[in-house]
C-alpha cells in the first residue's frame, strides 16, 4: 500500500468510526444526565 492510501484509510475509517463513537458517547452521557435529573425531580 502507498503512504497516501494508508493516510486516506486512517482518516476515513478513523473519522467515521471516531465520529460515530463520539456521538454515541455524548448521547449516552446526556441520557444519564436526563435520567439523573428525572430521579432528583
Amino acid at each position: 500500500m502507498t503512504t497516501g492510501s494508508i493516510i486516506a484509510m486512517v482518516i476515513i475509517l478513523g473519522g467515521l468510526w471516531g465520529g460515530f463513537a463520539w456521538m454515541l458517547r455524548s448521547a449516552i452521557k446526556s441520557e444519564e444526565r436526563r435520567s439523573s435529573a428525572d430521579r432528583t425531580g
Binding site: 500500500m1 502507498t2 497516501g4 492510501s5 494508508i6 486516506a8 484509510m9 476515513i12 475509517l13 467515521l16 468510526w17 465520529g19 460515530f20 456521538m23 454515541l24 455524548s26 448521547a27 449516552i28 446526556s30 441520557e31 436526563r34
Partner: protein
C-alpha cells in the same frame, strides 16, 4: 381506539431501532459492489459528502416530523402542511410499501443462504456458473416463497410483540450481533494473504475520478439507499420516541453508524475478493459483477470465495447470518411503517398487523417467482425513493424552514442547535440534488435499449411514470378519505399526538 401508544424505553431503544432500520442489505450487499464499480477510493468522497448534504438533513426532518405529529406518514404530512397534502405522505408510504414486498423476498434469500451455509451446502458451488444456476433456480422455481413467508412472518411477529418487547428487543439483539459478525468477517478478510491489494483498491484515491458526474450521483443514490433517508421509516419510529429525544444528535449517530457499518462490510468483502485472485483485473471483474438482479457478488461469488479460505464454511455462515440480521432489522421497520398508517386510519394494532402480513406475503409472491418482476419493482420503486426525498423537502419548504427549525428541531432536549444554514441545506441543496438525480436517472433510462415509454418494460422511464402515476391518481382520489380518517373531519381540533 383507546389503545395506549408505547414508547421506546430509552434513547438507546430508539437509536438501536433506527440503526436497525438504516443498516440493511444496502450496506452489506449493495455498498461493496457500488464501491467497486466506481473504482474504489474516490467513491468515498461523494459518498461521505452526501451523508451530510442529503441523508442527515432528511433524517433530522423525519425525526422532527414524527415526534411533532405523532402520526404515520399520511397523518404526518396532512397534520404538518395541510390536509390537501396527505396524499404526499401516502405516496412516500406507497413507495416504501412496494419496496417492502420485494425486500422480504431478499430477506428470504439471505435466510436460505444462511441455512445452506450452515448445512455445508454452499461447498457444492465450486464455480460461478454453478453458483449462478443454483441461485436462479432457487429464485425462480417457487423455493423462494417459503423463505419469503418465513422472513415476513418473523418481521410481523416482532411487530406483533409491540414497540418495546418487539422492535426494541429485536434490535438490541440484531444490531450488536450484526456489528460483531461483520467485525469477525472483516478481521478474517484482512488477515488473508494478498488482502492488502483490496485495501489499496479501497483507499487509493484517484482524484481525477471526481470530475466524473456519475460518481457523485452514485454516491448520492447509495447514501439515500443505505441510510433510509426519505423512506419515512425513521418518521415512523419517531412516533414512539420520548418527548425530549434529540433529533440532531440521534440523526448523526444513525448516519455515521450506518456508514461505519457499510465500510466494515466492504472490509469483509473486498479484501476477500482481491486475496482470491492473482491479478487486479480478475478481482475487479468479480467485485463489480452484477449478475441476475444485482445478486452477483453476494449470492454468486461470496459462497465460492469463502470456500477458498480456511474455515470458509464457518465464515460463509457468519456472513449470511450478518446479512440476514441486517435484512430483518430493516424489514421490521418497513412492516411497522405500514402498520402505523393502518392504525392511524382507525384499525387496531393486531388487526392491522394481520392485514399487513397477508398483503405483504401476497405482494411479494410475483418477485419471489420472477427475477424480471423483481428487477422491475426494484427499478421503479428504488427510483421512487428519490421522489420521496423530494416530497419531504417540499413539506419542509411549505411549512417554512425557519419555523420548522423552531417548532420541530430546536426544542428542549435537543443539545445541538441548528442555525439558519440548515435552511439552505434543506431548502436549496436537497431539492437541487433531487432534481439533478431525477434528471440523470431519467436520461440514463433512454439508453437502455427498450422503448423509453413502454410501461411494461423491466427498467425504463415509462414503467416508473406508469406505476408512480397510478399511485398518485389513486392517492389523490382517496385524499379526502385518507385525511378524514387520520385527522378527523375538517375543523376537528387535533389532539397533540394524533389518533392513538
Amino acid at each position: 381506539m383507546s389503545e395506549q401508544r408505547e414508547q421506546f424505553t430509552s434513547r438507546w431503544g430508539l437509536i438501536l431501532a433506527a440503526l436497525g432500520m438504516a443498516v440493511g442489505t444496502g450496506n452489506v450487499w449493495r455498498f461493496p459492489r457500488i464501491f467497486a464499480t466506481n473504482e474504489g477510493g474516490a467513491f468515498l468522497i461523494p459518498w461521505l459528502f452526501f451523508l451530510f448534504a442529503w441523508s442527515i438533513p432528511l433524517l433530522i426532518l423525519e425525526l422532527g416530523m414524527g415526534k411533532k405529529t405523532r402520526m404515520g406518514l399520511v397523518g404526518a404530512f396532512g397534520k404538518l402542511i395541510g390536509r390537501r397534502y396527505s396524499w404526499m405522505g401516502g405516496f412516500v408510504a406507497a413507495v416504501t410499501t412496494m419496496i417492502t414486498f420485494y425486500y422480504s423476498v431478499v430477506a428470504g434469500w439471505c435466510l436460505r443462504y444462511f441455512f445452506t451455509a450452515l448445512s455445508g451446502g454452499l461447498a457444492r458451488l465450486t464455480d460461478a456458473e454453478a453458483a449462478q444456476q443454483a441461485f436462479e433456480h432457487f429464485a425462480t422455481s417457487g423455493w423462494a416463497l417459503p423463505f419469503h413467508l418465513l422472513a415476513f412472518g418473523l418481521g410481523a411477529w416482532v411487530i406483533w410483540r409491540g414497540v418495546v418487547r418487539g422492535i426494541e428487543l429485536a434490535n438490541k439483539i440484531l444490531i450488536p450481533l450484526l456489528a460483531l459478525l461483520l467485525m469477525v468477517a472483516a478481521v478474517r478478510a484482512l488477515t488473508l494473504p494478498g488482502a492488502e491489494r483490496g485495501l489499496h483498491f479501497m483507499f487509493d484515491i484517484d482524484w481525477s475520478r471526481l470530475g466524473d458526474y456519475r460518481i457523485w450521483l452514485e454516491g448520492l443514490t447509495q447514501s439515500a439507499w443505505s441510510t433510509g433517508a426519505g423512506w419515512g421509516l425513521l418518521l415512523t419510529y419517531a412516533v414512539y420516541s420520548r418527548e425530549r429525544s434529540d433529533c440532531v444528535r440521534n440523526s448523526l449517530v444513525i448516519g455515521l453508524g450506518n456508514n461505519s457499518m457499510s465500510l466494515l462490510a466492504a472490509l469483509a468483502v473486498l479484501p476477500t475478493v482481491f486475496a482470491s485472485f492473482p491479478t487486479f483485473q480478475e478481482a475487479f471483474e468479480v467485485a463489480t459483477y452484477s449478475g441476475p438482479a444485482a445478486t452477483g457478488l453476494t449470492f454468486v461469488w461470496i459462497p465460492i470465495l469463502f470456500q477458498k479460505i480456511p474455515l470458509g464454511s464457518i465464515f460463509s455462515a457468519i456472513f449470511f447470518l450478518a446479512l440476514t440480521a441486517a435484512a430483518l432489522s430493516s424489514l421490521i421497520a418497513m412492516i411497522e411503517l405500514i402498520t402505523r398508517i393502518l392504525i392511524d386510519l382507525g384499525l387496531q394494532r393486531k388487526r392491522a398487523i394481520g392485514i399487513v402480513f397477508a398483503a405483504g406475503f401476497a405482494g411479494g409472491v410475483p418477485s419471489a417467482l420472477s427475477l424480471n418482476y423483481f428487477n422491475n419493482q426494484d427499478w421503479a420503486w428504488g427510483l421512487g425513493l428519490m421522489v420521496s426525498g423530494g416530497l419531504f423537502a417540499f413539506a419542509a419548504i411549505k411549512y417554512g424552514l425557519t419555523r420548522l427549525r423552531a417548532d420541530l428541531i430546536n426544542l428542549p432536549g435537543n443539545e445541538i442547535t441548528l442555525g439558519p444554514w440548515f435552511n439552505g441545506l434543506l431548502g436549496v441543496l436537497v431539492p437541487v440534488e433531487f432534481g439533478a438525480m431525477l434528471i440523470w436517472w431519467s436520461v440514463q433510462s433512454f439508453g437502455w435499449g427498450e422503448a423509453w415509454w413502454n410501461p411494461f418494460a423491466v427498467a425504463n422511464l415509462g414503467t416508473c411514470l406508469f406505476q408512480w402515476g397510478l399511485a398518485v391518481i389513486v392517492l389523490l382520489a382517496l385524499n379526502r378519505w385518507l385525511s378524514n380518517r387520520t385527522l378527523g373531519p375538517p375543523g376537528t381540533a387535533l389532539p397533540e399526538g394524533g389518533r392513538l
